[in-house]
């Protein structure tokens, strides 16, 4: 039984089959990349897996559990975290607060004890903070800790979003275009971090990417989509050579 199993997943918006009968499996501990031209349905696929949309047909199983019909806020506690292509951070909060929000699934105390801020709540807050500082160290965000997101450059926001996802202590991380809009240096760093997250933290990574350099470097297997359908699957080198993939990107003939 594979770790993440997507079976015959489909969803339509009006007359458009955005994701059409897509199946793939991801093994525990690997880095799996999803590529495809614009409008291929990559982000929609992520939204289906993370519970933001519910599919018209098909199923999603994660760690042996059917999560097809679970809402997003029930999927996150199972150990599945994600980032967004267009960055969805909490803009008017600081980096630290954003990362602490990422710890939400690990809260133990309840709202009435928060009103009084009982000693147990303080102990829990200190624990959250220590875990958040680990993430800050890993992603070298110490310099921006107290800054509001609204004042940060784009590249840093991208990193903060990965950090927030890591604060969930996920088992599976979905990264939606982690390097889009980044300059070559920042992309390079992001590549190293993805490797670190995968190897050192043991997190399984599924990422949507356009940057074939990044995909070849970090991903073990690649899935290529076009117009909502799977057109190729295999190692990065094989998929890149696949005629259907070349057609999808460059057009046939």
């Amino acid at each position: 039984m594979s770790y993440l199993a997507v079976t015959d997943l489909s969803i339509s918006f009006g007359g458009i089959r955005a994701v059409d009968d897509v199946s793939f499996e991801v093994e525990e501990g690997e880095v799996f990349a999803i590529i495809g031209p614009n409008g291929a349905g990559k982000t929609t696929l992520f939204n289906l897996v993370s519970g933001i949309y519910s599919p018209d047909a098909g199923s999603v199983r994660f760690a042996g559990r059917d999560i097809t019909s679970l809402p997003a806020h029930r999927i996150a506690p199972l150990g599945l975290a994600r980032t967004f292509q267009n960055i969805e951070l909490f803009e008017h909060a600081t980096v630290l607060q954003n990362l602490l929000i990422g710890r939400h699934v690990h809260r133990r105390s309840t709202a009435p004890s928060h009103l009084l801020f009982l000693p147990a709540v303080r102990r829990e807050e200190l624990e959250h903070r220590r875990r958040v500082e680990d993430v800050i160290d890993l992603l070298e965000l110490a310099h921006y800790r107290e800054q509001r997101i609204a004042n940060l450059p784009y590249g840093v926001r991208k990193v903060v979003e990965v950090g927030r996802a890591l604060c969930l202590e996920p088992k599976l991380l979905l990264l939606d275009e982690p390097t889009s809009g980044l300059n070559p240096e920042e992309s390079e760093d992001m590549g190293f971090w993805i490797e670190d997250i995968n190897r050192d933290l043991g997190v399984t990574v599924v990422m949507v990417a356009h940057d074939m350099g990044l995909v070849s470097r970090v991903a073990g297997r690649v899935l290529a989509l076009n117009e909502g359908r799977v057109i190729a699957e295999g190692s990065p080198a094989d998929v890149q050579k696949n005629p259907a993939v070349v057609d999808a990107y460059l057009g046939a003939d």
């Binding site: 982000t43 939204n47 993370s50 519970g51 933001i52 809402p71 997003a72 806020h73 029930r74 996150a76 506690p77 975290a81 994600r82 967004f84 292509q85 267009n86 960055i87 969805e88 951070l89 909490f90 803009e91 008017h92 909060a93 630290l96 607060q97 602490l100 929000i101 990422g102 710890r103 939400h104 699934v105 809260r107 105390s109 709202a111 928060h114 009103l115 009084l116 801020f117 709540v121 303080r122 807050e125 200190l126 959250h128 903070r129 220590r130 609204a150 004042n151 784009y154 927030r164 969930l168």
Partner: protein, 358 residues
């Protein structure tokens, strides 16, 4: 400029971050406690009213400024708190129990409204809460067997621990204590995971959901908390009025509460206090100004609402962060002197968000 040397995470959790905070807030508390000795009955009563506004403002700020849910109907919760408290007090319940009951009833109604309004955001939510306030006002005026309708309802005298509360200073201290308790509770919520979840919902619902925040639960909770706190203000407001009738809780009160939050500075608890001082004392200032103005202007009808409205428009246009935002700018001007630039606080353009999911 103050540089804090932090040696423990507790320093980021504590309410008072450094010696300066402790000194100034301590001084404020001492001054507030000494006010009855220095002020006459009239100004003490006005200060009492300001603090009642501030309690209601804390409730509304949690909802509007921190959870991002606009409410134009908070006069209803003020009314529910006031009527519940007066009726229970009249039925012979002890003062403190009756206040607690008023808070709980308001919170329960708030949870109901919040739950019904879950799918609405922005202007639609504002309209729905406005409708709820109208409904409450109508219900109170029609349910004569309970509330006395427009004949009114006399608020029974309060007594605390066997001591009748008749003097202005007694009410003043009661309100001051409850305001401090409310502020503490609100700030405690805000520094814990519940408050962070509220802020998350305000800034991005989709990613709040993706980190495991149950939107329905937290939005309903925010409504309940906000309504409960406003109900507490309502209970105190009842004693201030002395005689309850539906026209004490009109749409204008809802608007005034929202005005307080906006003028004070959305998203800051200190802003609530500034806002309460503003809407509490502006009518007095206007009354004083009237004496010096030429009669043709001073006697013009609608002068007060006009100036209120003008100030609201000017604040939204030129100081969207309210009084608190202006204070931050003045502070950083002196801290950075002579390096302050107008652009220091210019609002950054938000990056394009194309594929917004909802």
């Amino acid at each position: 400029m103050r540089f804090l040397f932090k040696t423990h995470y507790n320093q980021d959790i504590d309410h008072l971050k450094h010696g300066g905070d402790r000194f100034w807030y301590g001084l404020l508390l001492v001054l507030a406690a000494a006010a009855p000795a220095a002020l006459g009955t009239f100004y003490l009563g006005e200060l009492n009213l300001v603090m009642i506004y501030a309690i209601a403002g804390v409730g509304l700020m949690l909802l509007v400024g921190y959870t991002g849910q606009v409410s134009l109907g908070h006069a209803a919760f003020l009314a529910i708190g006031a009527y519940t408290h007066s009726l229970l007090l009249g039925a012979g319940l002890p003062f403190l129990l009756s206040i607690v009951a008023a808070v709980l009833v308001s919170a329960l109604v708030g949870a109901g409204v919040g739950w019904i309004a879950l799918r609405m955001t922005g202007i639609y939510l504002a309209i729905a809460t406005l409708a709820f306030a109208m409904l409450t006002e109508q219900t109170i005026s029609r349910a004569e067997w309970l509330t006395g309708g427009f004949r009114g309802l006399a608020v029974p005298r309060a007594s605390l621990f066997g001591m009748p509360l008749t003097q202005g200073w007694q009410h003043y201290y009661l309100t001051l204590t409850l305001l401090v308790v409310t502020l503490f509770a609100a700030l405690n919520i805000l520094r814990s995971s519940t408050g962070r979840a509220m802020v998350a919902i305000r800034d991005s619902e989709i990613s709040a959901e993706s980190v495991g925040i149950n939107l329905a639960v937290y939005k309903t909770f925010a409504f309940a908390l906000s309504a409960g706190i406003t109900g507490l203000a309502g209970a105190l407001f009842a004693h201030r009025l002395g005689y309850l009738s539906p026209d004490a809780f009109t749409f204008l009160i809802s608007l005034q509460l929202l005005l307080m939050v906006v003028v004070g500075g959305v998203g800051s608890m200190r802003g609530v206090i500034y806002g309460a001082l503003f809407i509490g004392f502006l009518p007095q200032l206007l009354a004083i100004a009237r004496d010096t103005l030429p009669p043709r202007i001073a006697q013009a009808p609608g002068l007060e609402p006009g100036i209120f409205g003008l100030i609201l428009v000017l604040v939204i246009l030129f100081e969207p962060q309210g009084i608190f935002g202006r204070w931050l700018k003045i502070k950083s001007y002196f801290q950075l002197f002579p390096l302050y630039r107008r652009a220091t606080h210019r609002r950054q353009k938000t990056y394009l968000r194309t594929e917004r999911l909802r």
